[in-house]
Symmetry: C2
Amino acid sequence: MIPERTIGRLSLYRRILDQVLDQGRTYIFSHELAKLSGNKPAQVRRDLNVVKCPGCASKGYDVQEMIRCIDSTLDGPDKQRIALVGVGNLGRAVLHYFLGRRKKLEFAAAFDRDHDKVNRVIHGCRVYHIDELNDVIRKENIRLGVITVPVSEAGHIADLLVHGGVRGILNFTPAPLRIPPGVYVENIDITSAIEKVVYFTDLGNREKEKE
Amino acid sequence: MIPERTIGRLSLYRRILDQVLDQGRTYIFSHELAKLSGNKPAQVRRDLNVVKCPGCASKGYDVQEMIRCIDSTLDGPDKQRIALVGVGNLGRAVLHYFLGRRKKLEFAAAFDRDHDKVNRVIHGCRVYHIDELNDVIRKENIRLGVITVPVSEAGHIADLLVHGGVRGILNFTPAPLRIPPGVYVENIDITSAIEKVVYFTDLGNREKEKE
DNA sequence: TTCACGCTGTGAAACATTTCACAACAAATA
DNA sequence: TATTTGTTGTGAAATGTTTCACAGCGTGAA
């Protein structure tokens, strides 16, 4: 089982490598990828070992081979079908963002309460009413969900998703979801992120402990 | 200097405590806050020690006192003025999200290239053209920036922000920004987040190493 | 062929974070 | 007052992650 931090870095490497490949490079050294991704060379080499990607002492790593190794770790063998709940600004941003981005991921259905949005197709994804959630995710065999509703609804939506058979959730809400074991939840908490920036940006007016 | 993880948890505790307070509770035990935030009680107690929040062995922690302690750690003494660059779906979602949420944070200006958006006020925030960025953030004395533009623009925008005097950036783009020392960057990478969910959601079709 | 170079792969050290486990204590009870 | 109960605060152990540092190797130069 690979640690979460490592998975995050692998995901980033892959996107960088896609670009590197577009530029026509075929080999890359660990210190170069380190620079591009903001890490130390030793870290990059460790990460690549984890996905069993071999390097060559004189040429570095074969870019295509690296991408293959990362793919075989990160991607499941089949296409992953995802449901998005909450077609507000954030929901639309997520849909738009992923449009054709990764071939192994597909937003197969979106849900909202607002009847003006229901039955439209937004960024290639059909929008259903929330009442249809259970039926649709079962019929479409969806196992992953993204929650982009207002905080107050998040708990309820999470329950619906889990009840419909979803096994992994990306939650953009700060609400801590109570979820049965066996269901994985990843949280993105925008408020926390801004507050981190505020804290770590030394604006010279806070007395922090010396180190 | 408090570690990043701890800051993230404190931010979460604070939001939970705001709710707890609304419900009329005045005291709370570490194991209760742990449950509500998805942590272990010992972790919660350590975190509260870090912000010098004293507890009482029989009643637990005074909720208001806790909030005060967290405030004095997370918030700077003055209101923080923030610029948001990129008024697309994601940008609007961020603006909307923060509308009156935290008194110490204010989105003082937004920027976009699209002339249809310029000079409008969106979620209480005036939108300027990107060409005005430097002037406006200097005049408004803005030290924090949020980047919600397409990936390809991120590097350029980051340079503009830094050049204008911004010291902390929240970057929603997967582009690794090259930034001078002294400027803090926090990244939110939506693609990585989804890929983490895909990986850690055991859909039974990947051979993971036994542990 | 031999040497010098610069890289990979990795054991071990360093560092960071979480969790355990328990002494000390405040309140409630008798 | 003495006893019981359940919590805080924290040293120390456990665990997790990053970084160092170097042996070993392939390549190119002489």
